[in-house]
């Protein structure tokens, strides 16, 4: 099931097409990739522009394959990829503007972070001076560990070292494949803050992840991939709203939950009410209808409502729902 219609991304259509970025810098058009008989990515058309876009999906969904086709590491079996108007597999000059953080624990363990960042700068033909290297290392807050061999780093620190190396050429387009893997909460906060900064600077940032809560902290533009196809795309809330046939869950706290529960059951849009934790969890077919009915009921019964919060407008719930459909 998809909640969107896939169309070729065009700037004019951007406002309507959740797969199309408003100002596309990176365009994947009808890309497919198969390895032998296994189809990893099937006919995906989407575009990316300034800001953060998350690719979301379970392991093996095709996120990494799509990212690798976008960067030119893999050539599409069908379709085409354009980065700043160029095919990265044919014109390597485009790599001056790209930074890539691979998913794998792919680092040169014998180098220090400083050496890795300098190597990246030299390979990118950009400023490899001490000042430039220090600046890239400072952006990921790794000054204290910059001169230790990467082999001695924790996985989270390796991720930050890779991010520093990806930033040293001041890229306009960053591809981050599971960049938060192995990072502790403090490191994640640093990295997420950094990604927001990069997006605010007008860079195109694609982040792939299966850590749903963190994706929500990073961006609200999400492309969900399942079985190599786009399952949903757009704003997280819009995706959830588009699945209108799926009941919404709302948490309501009130001073008299039992009376409120009885009254709510008379509202046609309410499908079920569960008492617990000093409040209610209401399942409704229409958030708007519930939102209209609740104040009326509260006034009518003299109930004080202290909390009204949709509890499944989250990637977790969207993700679970999409997975259940897949099964």
């Amino acid at each position: 099931m998809t909640t969107t219609t896939q169309v070729a991304p065009r700037p004019a259509a951007a406002a309507r097409d959740p797969l199309a970025a408003a100002q596309p810098t990176v365009v994947a058009h009808g890309v497919s990739k198969w390895f032998g008989t296994k189809v990893a990515v099937s006919d995906i058309t989407c575009s990316f522009g300034p800001g953060i876009t998350s690719l979301l999906g379970p392991n093996g969904a095709g996120k990494t394959t799509l990212l690798r086709m976008i960067t030119g590491l893999l050539h599409p079996s069908e379709g085409s990829v354009s980065v700043f108007g160029k095919d990265p597999r044919k014109d390597t000059s485009v790599y001056r503007r790209i930074g890539f953080v691979p998913e794998d624990d792919a680092v040169y363990g014998h180098l220090t972070t400083r050496e890795l960042v300098r190597y990246a700068a030299q390979l990118s033909r950009c400023d490899a001076s001490d000042r430039a290297i220090d600046a890239a290392i400072a952006r990921v807050n790794m000054q204290a560990a910059a001169d230790r061999p990467i082999a001695q780093h924790s996985k989270g620190m390796r991720q930050r070292a890779k991010v520093a190396a990806a930033l040293v050429n001041n890229p306009d387009f960053l591809v981050l494949d599971e960049p938060l893997n192995g990072a502790d909460p403090a490191q994640r906060a640093v990295l997420i803050g950094l990604f927001h900064e990069l997006a605010a600077e007008g860079r195109t940032v694609i982040v792939s992840s299966h850590v749903l809560a963190e994706v929500e902290r990073m961006t609200d533009r999400v492309i969900t991939i399942l079985d190599g196809k786009v399952a949903a795309a757009g704003n997280i809330r819009a995706i959830r709203a588009a699945m209108s046939h799926i009941p919404h869950k709302v948490r309501i706290d009130a001073d008299d939950p039992r009376t409120l529960a009885r009254a709510l059951l008379d509202v046609p849009a309410v499908l079920g009410v569960h008492l617990g934790g000093g409040g209610l969890e209401v399942e409704t077919a229409s958030l708007a209808e519930l939102g209209t009915a609740l104040p009326v009921i509260a006034i009518e019964h003299g109930i004080r409502v202290t909390r009204f919060e949709p509890v499944d407008v989250s990637l977790e719930s969207v993700f679970r729902h999409l997975l259940s459909i897949r099964r």
Partner: protein, 250 residues
């Protein structure tokens, strides 16, 4: 620093890690150690023959090939295995530059070990009353062999997951057993090409005839060895470039 030099430097460091440095240095010292042992037992008049048969030939036929195939196979093979290849190929540099830099790094490191072994062997030979004139021919031939093995095994490291096994089969089975039986295949044996160049460059006073035996009927001159090495290196680098361009970088 240019991307080419950066790749050469980082690859050379990667190839010459501490354990490899110690292991290959000890292996390269083996001919010198054997010469010392041979000098104690051999007839001094026949020492040049002992050097040739016992030491120079194994130096060319085993030590150089095994050292070089392991190093060269790792130059790109380790990048594929460790999935660091994306770090190299997603850069504004040509695939040709990467292929040449990797081959250069492998040839430099393996030639370094060959230089160390040749110096030890020549120094020991001088200490036993011989002449240092044997050093230039051996290092020239050894370098040619290192370039040949490097070019081929950097390419194979980009293709095969078990490049070291394939290399050992080539060296121990094809070059040693099969070519020994079928002399007309001698031209496909890289160490024989290097050894041929060494024999050709040897001082006339050095009785090189003992070295000729393992070469069979085909003894390349220094010039033809250089031409063959250059041609094979160009073909392998071109193939490696093509593979890096066309093949998915997984």
């Amino acid at each position: 620093m240019t991307p080419f030099l950066a790749i050469v430097r980082v690859t050379a460091r990667q190839l010459a890690g501490r354990s490899r440095l110690i292991g290959f240095a000890l292996l390269s010292l083996a001919p010198a150690a054997l010469l010392l042992i041979a000098a104690r037992s051999a007839n001094p008049a026949a020492l040049d023959l002992e050097l040739g048969v016992l030491l120079v030939v194994p130096f060319f036929s085993l030590i150089i090939p095994i050292t070089t195939l392991i190093l060269a196979g790792s130059a790109l093979g380790d990048e594929r295995r460790d999935k660091t290849l994306s770090f190299l190929v997603l850069r504004p540099i040509s695939r040709l530059e990467i292929a040449v830099a990797k081959t250069t790094a492998a040839a430099l490191v393996s030639s370094g070990f060959a230089l160390f072994g040749t110096l030890a062997l020549s120094g020991t030979w001088v200490a036993l009353g011989g002449t240092f004139a044997i050093f230039p021919p051996i290092i020239i031939g050894a370098t040619i062999a290192c370039v040949l093995y490097s070019a081929v095994f950097v390419l194979l490291g980009n293709i095969l997951a078990r490049v070291t096994l394939a290399g050992l089969l080539y060296v121990l089975l094809f070059e040693s057993a099969i070519v020994d039986e079928i002399e007309r295949l001698a031209g496909a044996s890289f160490w024989r090409i290097g050894l041929g160049a060494t024999v050709d460059a040897m001082p006339s006073q050095f009785p090189a005839r003992a070295l000729l035996a393992p070469l069979g009927g085909w003894v390349p001159s220094l010039t033809s060895a250089l031409i063959v090495a250059g041609a094979i290196a160009i073909i392998c680098i071109a193939a490696c470039t093509l593979l890096l361009s066309r093949r998915d970088s997984l």
